[in-house]
């Protein structure tokens, strides 16, 4: 039921009930929340807490598929020319569409900016968020029509003057294909420098518009909204066909998997099944990472489900796990040069580790986007972003308590 950032959905079905594909099985709770739908038809066999990729057990609905994969009867296709902006946003909310880049923030919230925030530029993120992941690339190559349908809908919703699809320059095939598909349409395809974290929202906005989202602010503060290309496809499904978000593309990769693949997966599929479909493991993995190598979460095993945010499943071998012992900072400044937010990671990390939170805050700890670049480049293998992450959490906790 926890499939997105915000309040988890609340189970609305009971054990023993039979459900159809696309039927709502969890209802939204609050504005920053979306409903959850059955990914296939079958019988509900449990409504209870189950292991979740976030590391704890969370409320879940377990469905035993009947193999028929039967759609629910009440899908409501929409005619875009007859729908108002509010209708479209509502359809997106009911379909449970969230940001598909990995953060899984409910899309309808992003589509409802306060009226005083005019969105002039709408950016679609076709920059793969992290190394190893190629899910968005495949989506652009295989389903450009769906993406562009979503792009047109979102352009209409935001009333944006400029629409840009940003793609990293190392995907010339995707750039060429989308350029061809967009010929004549008021959509720019913009090749971008290949540089992690180019797919991070603030960096993408700066690369496309030259505008910096103010510290502590949101993209709408500079008149921009950003959506992932796969989110656009999900919006198209939701609005045009009334189909809820029950599947996504996930990259299963890493040195420990036999046949790395991009899979179209149903939300809720156990990870063990993904591994099976990819020919199994070449050896016992050293690390199981859900998401990408820079910001993904390690897992205890394969018995958790894929969620709407599961952009990748990365399997590292034992030898790929970095166990270099930490050394003293030699002030080489690589972290400073690498930081996309122009922070001093080594300084903030040192303050965070000593619980000098006021100082860490003064050095803009809260502006850290946790991309992990600093830890990646550090020759002394100091866990910089990890320390900063701790510092940020401690600063927030302190603020809440005061």
């Amino acid at each position: 039921m926890a499939q997105h950032i915000g309040a988890p959905a609340v189970a609305s079905v009971e054990v023993g009930q039979s459900v159809a594909k696309g039927q709502e099985i969890g209802s939204a709770k609050g504005f920053v929340s979306v409903p959850v739908h059955a990914p296939t038809s079958g019988e509900v066999v449990a409504v209870e807490s189950r292991p979740h990729p976030w590391g704890t057990s969370l409320p879940a609905v377990v469905i035993k598929p009947d193999g028929e994969d039967r759609w629910t009867a009440d899908l409501q296709p929409g005619d875009p020319s007859a729908l108002s902006v509010d209708d479209i946003v509502e359809k997106v909310r009911l379909a449970g569409v969230v940001g598909m880049g990995g953060a899984a923030f409910p899309a309808h919230v992003k589509m409802s900016p306060p009226p005083e925030k005019k969105i002039s530029t709408l950016i679609f993120n076709g920059v793969e968020c992290e190394p190893y992941l190629t899910a968005d690339h495949r989506m652009m190559l295989e389903e450009p029509e769906r993406i562009l349908q979503g792009v047109a809908l979102l352009k209409y919703v935001f009333g944006a003057d400029r629409v840009v699809i940003g793609i990293e320059a190392n995907k010339p095939d995707a750039i060429a294909l989308l350029e061809k598909e967009c010929a004549g349409a008021p959509v720019e395809i913009l090749p971008l420098q290949v540089k992690y974290p180019q797919g991070a929202e603030k960096q993408l906005i700066a690369a496309v518009t030259g505008r910096e989202v103010p510290s502590g602010g949101l993209p709408m503060d500079v008149g921009v909204a950003v959506h992932n290309v796969s989110t656009a496809a999900a919006v198209a499904d939701a609005v045009l066909f009334g189909r809820p978000l029950i599947e996504r593309v996930c990259t299963v990769t890493g040195p420990a998997i036999r046949e790395p693949k991009n899979l179209r997966i149903r939300i809720g599929t156990p990870l063990s099944h993904l591994v099976e479909v990819c020919g199994g493991l070449t050896e016992d993995p050293g690390k199981i990472v859900l998401g990408g190598p820079m910001m993904g979460f390690t897992q205890l095993g394969f018995d958790v489900p894929a969620t709407r945010g599961t952009s990748g499943l990365l399997l590292l071998r034992d030898e790929d796990v970095d166990r270099q012992e930490e050394g003293p900072c030699i002030r080489c400044s690589r972290c400073v040069q690498a930081c996309p937010m122009h922070l001093l990671p080594t300084t903030i990390a040192a303050y965070s580790r000593r619980d000098l939170l006021a100082e860490a805050s003064e050095y803009c700890a809260m502006d850290c986007i946790e991309c992990g670049s600093c830890s990646y480049v550090c020759p002394a293998t100091i866990p910089l972003v990890q320390a900063i992450r701790y510092g940020k959490a401690a600063i927030l906790a302190k603020k809440r308590n005061s």
Binding site: E212, R331, G372
Partner: protein, 331 residues
Amino acid sequence: MSKQLYLSSSPHIHSGDTTSKVMRAVLYSLLPACAVAVYFFGPAALTVLLIATLGCLATEVVCQRLMGQPVTIADGSAAITGVLLALNLPPSSPWWLTLLGAVIAIAIGKQVYGGLGSNPFNPALVARVVLLISFPVQMTTWSSPTPFGSGLDLVTTATPLGEWKNAVMLTGQMPPELQSGMVDYFLGNMAGCIGEVSALALLLGAGYLFYKRILTWHIPATFVGTVVLFSSVFWLASPDKYPNPLFHLLTGGLVLGAFYMATDMVTTPVSTKGMLFFGVGCGVLTVLIRLFGGYPEGVSFAILLMNAATPLIDRYTRPKTFGTSGQGATS
């Protein structure tokens, strides 16, 4: 699954570049300069190199044992200090002077501050300056370069910068022949510290470090550029008295200083802007000391003075945080 699974906070991959790899690359890059030193100054240079390097390693071991800390000579930093110290000594340096330098560099220059990463001053330069002030005679007895075989005894002479300073002090004029040997100066065929004589060898090594992205252009370019520009002002104003910028560039310790000593990561600013300030400051101080100070050479003093200014530079050159107009936190 039978084996252990690792759980950790992201990121899960690392560039693979480690401190000891960086240090090893710096050591490799110093090999051409060491080779040229041995070519021009023979066994004397080799002896200085060995004593300084082994002395630094031994001092590091002794200090860390005494303080009950893990011994970290494998990281390569003490070896680099040793080689750099040797390159900053005259070839005729007696064994006890070299050894004393090694002890000062590691014990006083580095370990008392807490070891690698904590020292405010470049350890090799601390040792060089302490020796220069304490043993001025031994530290300024220079030898003529004698490519191998040509004579066993080293002939005492003066460095080009020293010759210039003496002449200007005595006559107010620069001897014109001093500026005629630029090719020799470039190759290293002149008197000076073991490692500072050959700009060619040093630049070769620096090129390798640029290629490995261990060096960035900021400090060397601003340091050298400032020396060239600033010394040009004096040269153009009074060419009979002041040497031309090329002379400044190729004689003395500028190349060694700008590419190897002023780029020591630990003792220099972390921000790009800070590095530029640092380089300019080093350049200005070097020219001022060379032209108007009591010592003929000013590179070491300039770098040490700028080392002292590094925390201040860091404070005032904090990068502008993305999405803010200044450096302050907004939350």
